[in-house]
Subunit: 216 residues, 2 copies
């Protein structure tokens, strides 16, 4: 099956499989059953078999999955060996943290430029990389052709900036503002990251547990 | 339908509905059809009708949804008006950014304590809140009873720390390390946040687009 045909929800789960299989591979584990993998990952064994069946026959009855072969195959589908050129814009607390915290090479990306509108921030270095002033963005894009822009700017600035970056050839946005970015060109990729969504899952869960307790 | 009966995947989408409906409410928009909402949110209209049907009849044929009533109802389900007490541990770049960037009150949470193992960080202030030394954690928990712990510590420290926090009464973990946290007590809530997962979706998407281009 070509990877175009794998459903979006399976694709969304691939990074998680990749992470768990990578950890098993590092531990020297050669094979694993869907049952063992399900216990570690908190998914059902049948979900795992169904997901992994989408892209080939690495599981064998009575043997399980070949851990490293499956890890490599998922890495190939996700394209983790790529070197997509990324720029990060907005070097406030959050932008600096993203620049330092995220393991870009493991995600098939290379961080090639940092930008900020504040002249006191631009000109300085972050982890050995110079921070450029935002006014130099167009020239940089014409020369370096970044494909991905990581947006850590104030909410009010994000839409206009993203539209400008589209005209400069950026094809994918990793958006950390509190706004959902919407762009006219449907071929442009957008990942709106809302950290608070997962915190709300904890709030919801605590509330539900409180209600269960008081019902018993 | 009680909220216990709403499926986990619908619950995961609720923060997104809440965000979009909140923005519409602020703009003074009184009602919206599933079709209009679907265009704004990038979901299908039938998905939206199906999701929102799970918790009551706010949509009416030919009228659409009452925006503010639906926003309030989703907020009630998520419990956004709660004041769950949260502590954040690990005030490196990333922890400081989380403490500053996340809108805790909108997520039903209150940040009541900051902790770090570094004696040069502990004792200082962050946004008017004192940073405590990690050695004072047990005493603090006995006194203040935080329910949520936000973990921004090094990967190698996270498992042991979380286990200790469980014994101190913490019921929910928001984990920002690169490790998937696994705890023995199934009633403890864990949200493992892997930022890189969404970056990998961009890498995957760029790769797929490249392949489509070269196939045409």
């Amino acid at each position: 099956m070509s990877k175009q045909e794998i459903s979006a929800s399976v694709i969304r789960r691939l990074p998680r499989y990749h992470r768990f299989l990578g950890a098993l591979c590092k531990k020297g584990i050669v094979r694993i059953s869907s049952k063992e993998l399900s216990e570690q990952m908190g998914l059902t064994a049948s979900q795992i078999r169904q997901d992994l069946n989408c892209f080939g026959g690495f599981g064998q009855q009575g043997y399980g999955y070949n851990v490293c072969a499956l890890y490599d195959e998922i890495g190939r589908i996700l394209d983790t060996a790529a070197h997509h050129r990324a720029i990060l814009i907005g070097l406030g607390n959050f932008g600096r943290a993203i620049a330092s915290h995220v393991r870009f090479p493991e995600c098939g990306c290379e961080l090639i430029g940092l930008f900020d509108a504040n002249p006191f921030v631009a000109g300085k270095d972050l982890r050995g990389m110079p921070v450029h002033h935002i006014d130099t963005l167009a020239g940089f894009c014409h020369q370096e052709h970044p494909e991905i822009a990581i947006l850590c700017v104030p909410d009010s600035a994000v839409q206009q900036l993203a539209e400008k970056l589209c005209t400069l050839g950026v094809k994918a946005f990793w958006n950390f503002t509190h706004c959902d970015l919407q762009l006219a060109d449907p071929s442009v990729l957008v990942e709106n990251v809302h950290l608070a969504d997962s915190l709300l899952m904890l709030t919801f869960g605590l509330h539900r547990d409180d209600q269960s307790d008081s019902a018993t």
